[in-house]
Amino acid sequence: MLRGELVGLRARHEADAPILEAELHDDLVTTSRSDWRPWRPVSPGAQASRYRVAEPSDNAASFSVVDLADDTLVGDAGLGNIDAHGRSAYLGLVLRPACRGKGFGTDIVRVLCGYAFTVLGLHSVHLGTLDDNHAMIKAAERAGFTKEAQLRKAAWVMGGFSDAVLFGMLADEWTAT
């Protein structure tokens, strides 16, 4: 398990999947805001569930996040698009509704950066979100990310096009924090 101050990141367990599917996937707004793909109905146990237990791979690392205080499941986080040549990856996280606004996001971002820069040896980590996702943007800025781009109207979200923002952090910036 990877440990921060508030959270631990461990592999997905079978028992996590139905909770994350019910609270995250089945919430259309949460899914439409956090996934590039359109929301679709996913039956329990379907292979298409993004929260199912999956084999580890070279280009993605998926974690379940737990609260270190009481070991309860807090949400889903991970690295995707891990590029061993450009030594970069994208970071993403989604918290269960009851676990938002408690500072978990910043801690998760820091733990994932530690994994990316220290364990994987990456050179840069990027993070994309909608430009009105203030909680995610705050977590990124607190963890030391820099805003690098504003992709105008890049995502279809619940009836309209929204801007996406991209943040980045480089290995030497991480070391300096």
Partner: protein
């Protein structure tokens, strides 16, 4: 929590427990099936892949839902957005309610929830409903949900022993938004 929910029903993914109920009450009714489907009724054994109501992986071209009545939290039927065409940004609606759940306004509410999914979540431009020209409950549901009757395809369906016309209804995104 934001799910697919109207005044009377919510739509969720198919669960395994739904399948035998839908197979029995919708598929095994030969007369009903003849009016719903474009294919002739055939016997289907429980639990086989041929069941139209089996649990499937999601696909880009279609989204299958189970309809749950909110008042009693009970399975009320099936609904789908099918032939989702992201180039022309159109799709079709299909609905079948269990016999005991008809005549309660659930179909109109289900159509409205499917329109929200199609127009808002998926970003479609047009949604279409086809039904037999004498299927007055479905026609009423389509009209109450704001669809416009666009025509009748004469003798387009074979309904146990005779040809029947097929009514085509459509709604465009700006009509939905202003409704």
């Amino acid at each position: 929590m934001s799910d697919l929910r109207g005044d009377l029903v919510r739509l969720r993914a198919r669960h395994e427990a739904d399948v035998p109920i839908l197979d029995t009450e919708l598929h095994d009714d030969v007369a009903l099936h003849a009016r719903m489907g474009r294919r002739p009724w055939r016997p289907i054994s429980p639990g086989t892949e041929a069941s139209p109501y089996r649990v499937k992986e999601p696909r880009a071209e279609g989204a299958s839902f189970s309809v749950v009545e909110l008042a009693c939290d009970t399975l009320a039927g099936t609904a789908s957005l099918w032939d989702i065409d992201t180039h022309n940004r159109s799709a079709h609606i299909g609905i079948a309610l269990r016999p005991a759940f008809r005549g309660k306004g659930l179909a109109t509410d289900t159509v409205r929830v499917l329109c929200h999914y199609g127009f808002v979540v998926l970003g479609l431009h047009r949604i279409q409903i086809e039904t037999l020209a004498d299927n007055h409950p479905m026609i009423k549901a389509a009209e109450q949900a704001g669809f416009t009757k666009e025509g009748i395809l004469r003798d387009a369906g074979w309904d146990t022993g005779g040809f029947v016309g097929e009514a085509v209804f459509g709604i465009l995104v700006h009509e939905w938004t202003t409704a």
